[in-house]
């Protein structure tokens, strides 16, 4: 709990405002820019609106370019992130439960091994995964982007913390005496108790998948399989190279649309975003 309830001092307020401006300025620029065309982008002041508005043209270009592939990218991003979140929540919840509720041989060593892999750079994994998938013919499929995201050591770590703190082991004993099976105890008794953990880990997996770039970059090359991040990056590349119509404000609009779901999720589910990480550090 915090102690003092006084107001911020002028100096503190100044520092806070400065950081808030720094944090919000690029987003402000983005909002202003989606109303402009490329001419206005270069000729008018970047941090303020200019008339006439070109938002509807930008929207039209964004959603009709390449036969409206942008809508496809939105759907793909939702599919990849949704499937990854659901799958990894289930997998992490079960594994976290095993580590929290049971004693078994090699438990600590296994947990440490899993945690240590958090340090392995994604590239070190993605490169061999690419080659493995190539051999299995999985490249350019939805699976190529979804499957690797289902296992998440940090998600497991978080989930175990939630089991440790919200699931009393006496409950297990009592349920066993009543004749409940192990799966029933987990599903009926356990899962409802760690609901906020499920949301936190699910959200974490969703955001990680939504933001993922390196994996789709190497795993899919067909543009109808791109997620938003990859699609916009490719447009940025092609539109910056010579001989192409510049797409700056259209890409800016696409960028704004691509961050909306996460911003909304953050503003509505804010309390689930923080939890876990710091709790664990204080306990550990």
């Amino acid at each position: 709990m915090s102690v003092t309830r006084t107001r911020f001092s002028p100096l503190q307020l100044l520092a806070l405002t400065a950081l808030a401006i720094y944090s919000l300025l690029p987003l402000w620029w983005l909002i202003v820019t989606i109303f402009k065309d490329n001419g206005q982008l270069f000729s008018t002041f970047g941090l303020w609106f200019s008339s006439p508005s070109h938002l509807s043209e930008n929207l039209h270009t964004l959603f009709t370019r390449q036969d409206g592939i942008f809508s496809r990218w939105i759907m793909n991003s939702f599919l990849y992130s949704g499937a990854t979140a659901l799958g990894s929540v289930l997998v992490s919840a079960m594994a976290g439960y095993a580590f929290s509720a049971y004693e078994f041989r090699g438990k600590d060593a296994l947990f440490s091994l899993i945690l240590a892999t958090i340090m392995v750079p994604a590239t070190a994994l993605v490169l061999p995964i690419f080659l493995m998938m190539q051999k299995l013919g999985l490249l350019n499929t939805y699976w190529a982007v979804i499957l690797p995201g289902l296992v998440n050591p940090f998600g497991l770590y978080l989930m175990r913390l939630f089991w440790d703190s919200s699931f009393p082991k006496e409950l297990m004993e009592a349920a066993r005496i009543d004749g409940a099976g192990e799966w029933t105890i987990f599903q009926r008794l356990g899962l409802p108790l760690v609901r906020s953990g499920l949301v936190t880990v699910g959200l974490f997996a969703f955001v990680t998948a939504w933001n993922n770039f390196f994996l789709p970059l190497v795993a899919v090359s067909r543009d109808d399989l791109f997620p938003l991040t990859l699609g916009l990056s490719v447009w940025n590349q092609t539109s910056s190279s010579s001989g192409q119509e510049p797409l700056y404000t259209v890409i800016a609009l696409g960028a704004l649309i691509s961050i909306l779901p996460l911003v909304i999720a953050f503003l509505t589910l804010g309390r689930y975003w923080q939890g876990g990480v710091a709790d664990g550090a204080v306990k550990g």
């Binding site: 493995m132 991040t229 190279s241 890409i251 990480v277």
Partner: protein
């Protein structure tokens, strides 16, 4: 009642299966790959032949790779402390007050974290772009000449700014949450002993914040070693060297040269390097801790 020994393993099985396929197998496969080298015999196509530790020898003499490592070290030494100090300072400021403004600031600071690094890279790329940067517009209005944020000598620090922008708020919230968890009777006790203001921060808050700080630093270190998306999307907008980070160099080796065995070697070295740095750091902080 005794539960069968297999039960925990059944709960673990989906995770362990996926973990073996997507963590253990790739690491082992990368190790295996790194033992092969591409050899061109006469006019024939390049062939993969066993080369032992040849790739590792090559990596240690590869000035482009060494340069990328030094780059990222330079980046980390400057950017990580700066970001963590900012995050800590603002967490402390926010922790000492309550009210509506506080909620606004917390949300504003955290918002950049919700933006994918590719999009952050694009966004800042435009803000850096010489001809449309509002910073340059303002600078020109004030009689300045404007800067080239994407010039080869400053682009590393332009990337550092993007990373700082994305992660300061996230780290601040982590530290803030830890501060909120400090039991209030500790403060009462300290106050009775006459501690207040800076003393309270120095002797109560900061020591209790230490475990979270270690976590934040470790994650920042791991994240720094892996920077890829930001330089990748900045590339079409300005001059970004191919080997600005180890990951961009590694990607180049794989995508341009198609030399997966050498790329795998670099990936392993990068992983080992991260392990060693994290290990040194943890060792260092563990010895500091018990006081």
């Amino acid at each position: 009642m005794k539960t069968p020994r297999a039960v925990p393993w059944l709960f673990l099985s989906p995770f362990l299966l996926l973990f073996s396929v997507f963590y253990i197998a790739p690491v082992l496969y990368a190790g295996y790959l790194s033992m092969f080298i591409k050899k061109r015999a006469g006019f024939g196509a390049a062939k993969e032949v066993f080369g032992g530790l040849e790739n590792y020898r090559r990596a240690f003499q590869d000035s482009d790779f060494i340069h990328s490592l030094l780059n990222i070290l330079k980046f980390g030494v400057v950017q990580i402390p700066l970001m963590v100090i900012l995050a800590t300072a603002f967490a402390l400021i926010l922790d000492s007050h309550k009210g509506r403004l506080q909620g606004f600031f917390r949300t504003a600071f955290y918002l950049p974290y919700t933006i994918p690094s590719v999009i952050a890279g694009l966004l800042w790329g435009y803000l850096y772009s010489k001809n449309l940067s509002p910073f340059n517009q303002i600078s020109k209005m004030l009689g300045g000449t404007g800067a080239d944020f994407l010039g080869s000598d400053v682009v590393l620090w332009s990337i550092a700014n993007i990373v700082t922008w994305t992660w300061t708020g996230y780290n601040m919230i982590t530290l803030y949450a830890a501060l909120q968890n400090i039991p209030s009777d500790l403060y009462e006790a300290a106050r009775i002993d006459g501690a207040d203001g800076w003393k309270l921060t120095r002797y109560i808050k900061l020591p209790l914040l230490a475990p979270s700080l270690v976590l934040v630093l470790i994650f920042s270190l791991i994240g720094t070693m892996q920077i890829f998306a930001e330089p990748f999307v900045l590339r079409p907008l300005g001059y970004v060297p191919d080997n600005i980070t180890p990951n961009t160099y590694l990607y180049l080796i794989a995508s341009r040269d198609g030399n997966f065995s050498y790329a795998a070697t670099l990936a392993i070295l990068l992983a080992l390097f991260t392990f060693v740095l994290s290990g040194i750091f943890l060792r260092f902080t563990r010895q500091e801790a018990p006081k």
